[in-house]
Amino acid sequence: MLSVQSLTKKFGGVAALAGCSLEIPEGQITAIIGPNGAGKSTLLNCIAGAVTPDGGHVRYLGTDVTGAKPYILARNRLVRTFQISRELSSLSLLENVLLARQNASDESFFDPILFPARVRRQQDADIDKAMKLLVRVGLEGLADATPNILSGGQKKLLELARALMLEPRMVLLDEPAAGVAPPMVQVLIGIIKELHQEGVTFVLVEHNMDMVSALSDQVCVMAEGKDLMSGSFEQVASDARVVEAYLGGVL
């Protein structure tokens, strides 16, 4: 569904990606793990169009999307969350979620003036959907608040709700569990599993090994900007190279 071929990206002298290749099969949850600075976030940024890679290719649904603008990918139902949550600070939680709806009239100045009834009906349906998503992540009570009052974990949950509003086919999650309390991590795992059953494909960058082992169909290990190896969680966890590069004997 998504394939990454020898991506490279340099920031100044630092090679964040040094020829990283990856296959993400449709309908699966692929976890990407690796030490800090391995280039995981940069990889997601390159896939989602936030960063233009120096070299290599990204193919999504059979088309080359290397260097495509993020909104092109989003409109093709590929959505990502950010490692450091990025909320739209002056929009309410409800508006944050609502914004992700995919509707061409969103960018029309004249539609609401010319077709008020249609725009209103569409918006009411979307509000309904957004509120349900907020309920799903337990933030419905704060729907009218702005994100600045949220805790770090709540912001992560808001990002997830926002991503789901887009009705994605593929979701790139950058450390969704970072800072989220354990009971809420379980909720998070539940939500991801549900969506997985509905056929959504996930790429999960995560340091929380409980989450990785609970969710992943396939684990891919990155180190120093390259894909080191991939396999099932058990295979990866017992591989000597991985232990050396990353786990340092913790597992």
Binding site: S90, A100, E107, S108, F109, P112, I113, K132, A143
Partner: protein, 309 residues
């Protein structure tokens, strides 16, 4: 006194329109425009040239809207191609170019002498006695229409998308919003509104010259938007009225303190406005009113709970 009030209110209407334009571009979408006066001048000269050559009121206003909207789109596209940070420089440069063209291309713009004799709409029907009041009526109706149009258009998805671009363009883009298109649209919509303001200015004075479109016009718009609250169309009406009230009220300063001469009074008026704005920013940094934010439906937490999966 009535005549004075009528004139002031007409000028406030024009200032409000310019502030509306800035509010869409900067207040909602986060794109500064230091060339507002240039856009207003472009609209005024377009209107003047068309109506001096026999075009009617609606034709010349419509032409001004189109010309300024297209120019807005072009200016924003140019700066976007350079880099988004160059908007301030590009708009400043645009304003300067318009000023130089109006000043130097005498064959078209009449140069420093300007364009006199712009026919005021329906003056032969209304007559000169009550014309100012009639024209104020036109201005107020137009402000009302623009206000209503903006409220309707920006309370929904379009306004939300603009605010998202202002807050974080990468997030907006990652959620499927075409950021470049939205920015160009914001500038075009604002441009169109400055075109209307320029038209009204031309008809109000029936005479335009480059000295009417100075940086202070741009500054008033910024003051109105800042005082009113970025993004709030209602707020900026209040903001524009407050700024104009301060400006006009201080005109009577010289009756109260007679030790000062006129130029001192003029300087003091500006100082007072600046001080007023600073006080406002200290005590109400978000401005008089907050921008519109969608409210969650009242009943939904419980009903949504039961339907949630």
């Amino acid at each position: 006194m009535i005549a004075y009030l009528t004139t002031i209110m007409t000028l406030v209407s024009i200032a409000v329109l310019i502030a509306f334009a800035l509010n869409v571009q900067w207040g909602m979408c986060g794109m500064v425009n230091f060339g507002l006066a240039g856009f207003v001048a472009l609209g005024a000269y377009t209107t003047a040239l068309i109506s001096l050559n026999g075009g009617g009121f609606f034709v010349s206003v419509f032409a001004a809207i189109i010309v300024c909207a297209v120019m807005g789109a072009i200016v924003s596209l140019i700066s976007m191609r350079l880099s988004e940070d160059y908007l301030a420089v590009v708009t400043l440069g645009f304003g300067e170019i318009i000023r130089l063209v109006t000043l130097n291309e005498g064959w078209l713009t009449g140069g420093a002498l300007g364009l006199p004799g712009i026919p005021r709409p329906m003056i032969d029907v209304i007559g000169t006695d009550h014309y100012e009041v009639f024209f104020l009526g036109i201005c107020v109706v137009i402000v009302g229409i623009v206000f209503a149009g903006l409220e309707i258009a920006t309370r929904g998805p379009f306004g939300r998308s603009l605010r998202a671009v202002r807050d974080d363009d990468l997030v907006a883009s990652s959620l499927g919003k075409n950021v470049l298109l939205l920015r160009v649209k914001a500038f075009a919509v604002g441009g169109g509104i400055t075109g209307i303001a320029g038209s009204l200015q031309a008809f109000q004075f029936s005479y335009i010259d480059p000295s009417q479109f100075t940086a202070i016009m741009t500054a008033y718009a910024f003051m109105a938007v800042i005082a009113g609250g970025q993004g709030s169309h209602r707020g900026l009406i209040l903001g524009a009225c407050s700024v104009m009230f301060l400006l006009e009220a201080t005109r009577f300063l010289k009756d109260v303190v007679d030790v000062l001469d006129n130029s001192q009074i003029a300087a003091i008026r500006l100082i007072l406005i600046g001080a007023g704005l600073i006080l406002l920013l200290i005590f109400r940094p978000q401005g008089l009113l907050r921008e519109y934010r969608l409210k969650a439906p009242k009943s939904s937490p419980s009903s949504a709970d039961s339907t949630a999966t």
